[in-house]
Symmetry: D2
Subunit: 143 residues, 4 copies
């Protein structure tokens, strides 16, 4: 079993050092995992190339996490990302973390990502090519 309904996932081992004095994975680590999954997703839709070519890239406007299970070392987590809303200049991404040991979702969260023109220093409409890529990507077979 693993994360259902996520077209893009990454798998990472929990590191011993990711635990804090409470004996479970520290709350901040979950955001590092969200980030690694988010970057993988954005690579899959070609956003970094656009950043390199035209200096249009993602900026995180807001992010949150709901902690549902404590995690401990050793474990392996699968982190999923999917885009659930496409606005004019921003989109919403949903993340979830699956614990292989507990066979359940350990945390989930949502973020708002703005497409930003680093030349004009202003939000810019999501380019049509990116919009279409996201729609096709999300519509393709999930696991």
């Amino acid at each position: 079993m693993s994360l259902p309904d996520f077209r893009s996932t990454i798998t990472l081992p929990v590191q011993w050092s990711e635990q804090d004095l409470f004996g479970h994975v520290n709350n901040v680590v979950y955001f590092r995992w969200f980030e690694s999954s988010r970057i993988k997703y954005l690579e899959q839709i070609g956003l970094p190339d656009l950043m390199t070519r035209e200096r249009i890239g993602p900026i995180l406007a807001a992010i949150g996490c709901n902690y549902r299970r404590q995690l401990t070392y050793p474990d392996t987590v699968e982190i999923g990302s999917r885009i659930t809303r496409l606005g004019r200049t921003s989109f919403t991404m949903v993340n979830a973390i699956w614990s292989q040991r507990q066979q359940t979702i350990a945390a989930d969260g949502e973020s708002t990502i703005v497409v930003f023109d680093y030349n004009s220093q202003k939000p810019t409409p999501i380019p049509d090519a990116i919009r279409t890529t996201i729609e096709l990507f999300e519509a393709s077979n999930k696991k």
Copy 2:
């Protein structure tokens, strides 16, 4: 100038290494700062002593952050915590990050913290002494 309306704050220098490839402080660092400020607050109201004595302690149920300004090295940030809601077994904490260089709030966020009995592994009512301490602490003079 600094963070108004926060009874509990900590001050930290931005580290060079806290910047990521985008050239600004990485989004995850804000949650580390929230945590350092939160722990300082909880110390001020005596929650860690309760943890040591009776194994009753805080567990983070949810946290979020709104990014309002990009931060860069060098800068010094002031991070504030205050409790805005006291429920039966949980409370709400608000955090804010002040940039000394930009003289403005760079980010803010909210978290839900559950008071947890580690013996029974269940949420437990906020002890009266802690509840009163929080009320008095929040009512005392702000900066």
Copy 3:
């Protein structure tokens, strides 16, 4: 190809966030990788059990790293640990980091680890059972 001559290795993907403003994996990350590999090794020889049972555990006395190649995201690294010297109360561990993308050793280093009695707060002789386990473990077939 991978790390030769190491009986104990772990494999980790490079995270995007492990890069710093210079555009390569930050120097501090290598020590995190050494640690994750070291803990895996110590688990394999049963040191954590001894820690739990008799409060005898490892303490790092010194560690160093030689940086031989710059690493960048994406890549996968294999980190090896082996014990090259068994003293009376301490031992020497050698670590190496293999880059799958560059097919070469990106860094290596050496550390001195003391076996510490947390009851008496003093170094203590390496228990015979641990000593024998290490010797057998190191003598068994390498990859």
Copy 4:
């Protein structure tokens, strides 16, 4: 009291999250502190400007740390850097960490830093202006 014999120092509070499951500051954190101090030193001698102007900058070739005292939260540490050897294309930096609570040196270490020409991708002689600045800087009054 504080770190003697260091012309360049920074002061940082120990963060709660910098402790690991052993209940003391994690070994990796010391290298983060060395880095923050090293960057401050290099700023003081003007190396980052040279990086921006001519793409000549520092690369860490090797670094080590000797752990002399366990550190715990709360504490404040002072981290010092000084250059003890100027070679043709590299120099040696010594670091030390002072614990305000224990009033003693908690760790020290040494690193080899190469001056690197990012255009030719080769080590390059330390520019005369930088060499003189370092000599004057180190000769000026210590604390």
